[in-house]
Symmetry: C2
C-alpha cells in the first residue's frame, strides 16, 4: 500500500500503528523516529521497524507516508524538523487528539506539494510507551480525518482512508473545529472530570485514602482508569483545545447544578427521567459495536 | 451457619446472595419474598430459594437472618410489614447503598429482641433483577456494617461478619453517617456525574447523538456504564443521601472550576501535577485487589 512509512514517536499509538502495518503488510519499509533513546531501544528489541532514527528528519527521507504520533504540543517542532526532508507528494498526517491546533502548528512549515491530512484514531488505553501498543487497537474503532481545506487532493485522502480501513477502522471526515467540539464531549471533558473527581477524593479530609481505595468498587474505580492516562498527553490536549473544552464544561456544570437542585428539593421524578434517558445512549453505543454488552465491562477481578 | 435466611427483594443483590448462600451451604432454608410476581417466577425457575413468598411477612417467619435487598426508599415499608412476624433473636440487615436513612426508616418499627445491623456490600454491576445476580459477586469486595448504636449485641455482629466473610467479602464496621460520606465520594457522586455527562452529551445541539456514540471510545463510553444503572435504585440513593452528596458535590464543583481556570490561563504545570497525582490512586486500588491491572479493564471488543 505504501513504500516507506515513517512513524515519528513510537509510544502507544505509534507502536500500535507500526505493529498493525507490519502484521497487515501495508508498507515495504517502516522507519521509526523517537527523541527518547529508551523508546528507540525498546522499538528495536520489539522489532517494530526496519530502521530506527534519533531524528525525525532522517526517518522521513523517501517516505510516502509520515505519521506524527507525538503529544499535541510537540507537533510544531516535528513539522519544522521534517519540512526540508519530506519527499514531494508525501502524505503527512498525525494522530493527535486535537486537530485545530495541529493544523495551526504544522501547516505553515510544510512545503508545497505535500498532502497534509491530520487524523485522529479514536482508540486507546490508559497506558503509554512502545510496550503498550498492540496491532488490533484500531479494529472496529473510528478514525477521524480533518483535511484542513477544501483543496486537499482527493486521491491523497482516499489513500489515507484506505490505510486506516486496512488497520481495521471506520473513517469519517470533518473539519478540524468540529472534531475538536465532538471530542471535547466524547473524550476531553470526560477525562477532565475523571481527573477532577480523583483529585477531590484525594483531598477530602474526612475520608481516608485507604477508604477511598477499599470502597472504590462502588463506581469510583471506573474513573481512575482514564485518570491514570499519560499526564503529558493530557496536559497538551487541554492546553490545545481550550475553547471547546471550556464551552462543553460550561454545559456540564450548568446541568450538574440543576441536578444538585433536584436533589436538594427532593424532585425524584426529574432524577428518574434523566436516569432513564441515559440508559438509551449506552444501548446505542453497544448497538454500534463501540462497547461490550458484558456486565461491568467484562472486567476481570482485581 | 443459619437455619432460615429470608431475602426480601430478589434483584441483582438479593439473587446474588441467594446463589452464594446456596453454593456455599450457609443456610438450611432460603426464603425469598418479592412484590414482583415476575421476579418471583424467575426466582422459582432459577431455583434460587426453597420457598417463595409474595409477602415479606410470610418469608421472615422462623428466619434467624433477614436481609432486605430492596431500593432504599422501600425500607420503611418492609420494616412495617415484617415487624410482627420476626422471630425473637433474629438478625435483621439490609444491603442498601445509604445507611443513615435506612436506620431512620427501619429501626422505629422493629421490636425489642431483634438484632438490627444495617449493611452494604460495595459490589454490583449496571444490571438489575434476578437474572443479573451471580454467586461470586461479593468475592474480594468489601461489605460495610453500620450498627446503629454501641449497644448492638457483639455476638450478632460477629455472626453477620462471618456470614459476609463466607460470601467472600472483607468486612468493616463504621457509623451510618460516616458510611454515607464515604460512599458519597466512592459511589454516589461518581454515579451522579456519569448520569450528568451523558445527559449533557445528549443535549448538545452542535454534536449529533450518532457522533457521540461513534466516538465514545475516547472515554465517554466508560461513563455510560454506570449511567445505565437502575433509575429507581439511584433516585432513592440521591433522595436519601442528600446532605453528604451535596457536600461532596460542592467540593467536586469547586475543584472543577479551579481546573477550568488552569485551562483558561494555560497553566500547564498545575494540570500536569494533578494528572500525575491521580495515577497513584489507581495504582493503590489495583494494589488492594479492588481493580484489574489489565489495560482498558480487560474490556472485550464491542
Ligand atoms: N493514548 C491514547 O489513548 C490516544 C488515543 C488517540 C490519540 N492519541 C494521541 O496520540 C499521540 C501520542 O500519544 P501516545 O498515547 O502514543 O503517547 P506516548 O505513548 O507517550 O508516545 C509518545 C511518544 O512520542 C515521543 N515524543 C514526544 N515528543 C517528541 C518529539 N518532539 N519528537 C519525537 N518524539 C517525541 C515520546 O517520547 P518521550 O517519552 O521522550 O516524551 C513517546 O515516545 C498524542 O498526540 C495523543 O493525543 C492518544
Ligand atoms: N445494584 C448495585 O450495584 C448495588 C450494590 C450495592 C447495594 N445495592 C443496594 O441493593 C438494593 C437492591 O438493589 P438491586 O440492584 O438488587 O436492585 P434490583 O435488582 O432492582 O432488585 C430490587 C428488588 O426489590 C423488589 N422490591 C422493590 N420494592 C419492594 C418492596 N417494597 N417489597 C418487596 N420487594 C420490593 C424489586 O421489585 P420491582 O422490580 O417490582 O420493584 C426487585 O425485585 C438497593 O437498596 C441498592 O441500593 C445495589
Amino acid at each position: 500500500m505504501f513504500g516507506r512509512v515513517a512513524i515519528i514517536g513510537i509510544g502507544l499509538i505509534g507502536s500500535s500503528i507500526a505493529r498493525a502495518v507490519r502484521a497487515r503488510g501495508l508498507a515495504r519499509h517502516i522507519a521509526i523516529a523517537d527523541r527518547s533513546a529508551d523508546h528507540l531501544e525498546r522499538a528495536e528489541a520489539l522489532g517494530l521497524g526496519d530502521s530506527l532514527h534519533a531524528g525525525a528528519d532522517a526517518a522521513v527521507v523517501g517516505a510516502d507516508l509520515v505519521v506524527a504520533c507525538v503529544p499535541v504540543g510537540a507537533c510544531e517542532e516535528v513539522a519544522k524538523l521534517i519540512a526540508r526532508d519530506l519527499a514531494p507528494g508525501a502524505i503527512v498526517t498525525d494522530v493527535g487528539s486535537v486537530k485545530g491546533s495541529v493544523v495551526r502548528q504544522m501547516r505553515p512549515h510544510l512545503p508545497a506539494g505535500i498532502h497534509f491530512i491530520p487524523g485522529h484514531p479514536v482508540a486507546g488505553t490508559e497506558f503509554s510507551g512502545p510496550d503498550a501498543g498492540f496491532a488490533d487497537l484500531f479494529d472496529g474503532r473510528w478514525c477521524i480525518l480533518t483535511p484542513p481545506s477544501d483543496d486537499v487532493d482527493a486521491d491523497a485522502i482516499a489513500r489515507l482512508t484506505a490505510f486506516w480501513r486496512a488497520l481495521g477502522s471506520n473513517v469519517e471526515c470533518m473539519t478540524p473545529d468540529h472534531h475538536d467540539l465532538v471530542l471535547a464531549i466524547t473524550s476531553h471533558v470526560p477525562h477532565l472530570i475523571a481527573y477532577n473527581i480523583v483529585g477531590t477524593a484525594d483531598d477530602l479530609e474526612a475520608v481516608t485514602q485507604s477508604e477511598v481505595m477499599k470502597f472504590s468498587a462502588g463506581g469510583f474505580r471506573d474513573f481512575t482508569r482514564i485518570a491514570a492516562s499519560d499526564p503529558t498527553m493530557w496536559r497538551d490536549v487541554f492546553l490545545h483545545n481550550r475553547e471547546a473544552v471550556i464551552e462543553v464544561l460550561g454545559r456540564f456544570t450548568e446541568d450538574l447544578i440543576a441536578l444538585q437542585r433536584h436533589i436538594r428539593w427532593g424532585e425524584g421524578d426529574d432524577l428518574f427521567e434523566l436516569f432513564t434517558r441515559t440508559r438509551a445512549i449506552r444501548r446505542g453505543i453497544i448497538g454500534m459495536g463501540q462497547e461490550t454488552p458484558a456486565a461491568d465491562f467484562g472486567r476481570r477481578k482485581g
